[in-house]
Symmetry: C2
Subunit: 274 residues, 2 copies
């Protein structure tokens, strides 16, 4: 199976894109809703959570791992590759950077994301590796996640907050903007309107799905190992009505969420050993 994890429900935007680009492959998802969000937490904590999430997916039959969470992609990818050297691990930052580099004309890229993602400076480092001439400016927009989760996609408050969030980037003259959080693509119309028509938006969900598809086409031995079928499993560490509502928003249809029980119980059960 293809394993995907996220701090919560937002990673379903990646699942949706994977299903579109790689129909027929079985997918397993883990959303850590019991500890969501990750983007406000420290790198050390995010790394620990990401390792646990990956272990859950591997124990349930995942053969490759897609880190859907931008905060985890930004701070935990290296630790995951070190801890699980045999497992192909994909993350959302690198494919977004490649795409952004291929579309920017003025060589000035903007990135919006959570505080953890932006503070990590990972976009600056990746761009510097690939094309040191390109400038990258980031801005943390922590209010966008709760606005999306409330379903406030078109409210005037959301428009105003998006506008404020983009001002420092527009002042830098960006012509390309990476949507560096799983939640942001559902705000695309508002973000495009406030960024201006001349700014190209990069949606990491599309890019990472493309990268996984291309990797599999080059690795037929792994492709054969992945299970086929339509019975995808969407696990969460905590289940509420609000999470189900948000899942629907991100997948574009109703989704059955499974509560991850004993497997992730150290997350939510008392008396876990120290």
């Amino acid at each position: 199976m293809i394993g995907v994890f996220d701090s919560g429900i937002g990673g379903l935007t990646i699942v949706r894109e994977l299903l579109r680009k790689l129909p027929g492959y079985r997918l397993i998802y883990f959303g850590d809703t019991a500890r969501t969000p990750y983007g406000t937490k420290s790198p050390e904590t995010i790394i620990s959570y990401a390792i646990q999430d990956t272990e859950f997916l591997l124990e349930h039959g995942a053969k490759i791992i897609v880190v859907a969470c931008h905060s985890a992609s930004s701070v935990a990818t290296e630790a995951l590759r070190e801890k699980f050297p045999e497992v192909p691990i994909f993350e959302v930052v690198t494919p977004s950077v490649k795409k952004a580099l291929s579309v920017t004309r003025k060589k000035i890229i903007g990135v919006i994301g959570t505080r953890a993602t932006i503070s990590s400076g990972v976009y600056q480092r990746k761009v510097a590796e690939l094309d040191p001439e390109v400038k990258v400016y980031g801005n943390a927009c922590p209010l966008l996640v709760p606005l999306v989760e409330e379903g406030w996609l078109k409210k005037p408050e959301t428009r105003r907050i998006v506008k404020k969030c983009l001002i420092p980037l527009k002042m830098r003259g960006i012509d390309t903007l990476v949507l560096g959080c799983t939640h942001y693509p559902v705000l695309k119309p508002v973000i495009q309107a406030k960024a201006g028509r001349r700014v190209t938006l990069v949606d990491p969900a599309e890019e990472v799905a493309e990268e996984v598809a291309s990797f599999l086409s080059q690795h037929p031995e792994l492709e054969r190992e992945l299970a086929r079928g339509e019975d995808h499993q969407i696990y969460v560490s905590d289940l509420t009505e609000a999470f189900e509502r948000v899942a629907r928003l991100f997948m574009g249809k109703k989704v059955k969420l499974l509560k991850a029980d004993c497997e992730m119980s150290h997350v939510i059960k008392p008396n876990a050993s120290c």
Copy 2:
């Protein structure tokens, strides 16, 4: 020591009030910043977390427990009293309800809080027990916590969102409004302005501190057991600069946050046993 726990940093508003009303007593605080917030999570998950938080405080010498988190107070108090029958456990709902009942003239009370708090219906139940003639209307305002944590205390977006949040309660004709979340008291000026001068705000921090003080004056045997001193301990399960900034906002001065290490490590460490 007097033990206080919260889903994060907001409970420091209660600590501040306890220090004011009960100067000289040693305090230990635990803020579960590694899993914050609680208010978006399910009752089962909140109960499990509240039990772990209480165990942490008791293991560190707390003799009485104050549940500063409104979401935990709303859904976990009963479970905590069952699990720790010997420990006096205080929560923020009951004293707020008592205060609201004592000030309402029209017998119509409003409550704002997180989704978990409002969905629990605990305010309605408590009021019905004490005065069945009084009506209570609740409204969940999940955006206020992230706005406060961003320090957006006076921005026009915050004013607009507060206004929207209060409209359904004002339409019911409330004359008293319980600030049912640790974060809301820092928004008092905006909330008062939007609620109108005739609406009395109830700040649970003041009420719970009053209740603890009154309980101790009636239980000298317990009062003697509590340690004295100024060396309060403020523990968190995750530490970031943003948490330190918010702590300062809530305490009104700089606070030294201690990272809870091994003791709460099942929260953040991998390989915790299932």
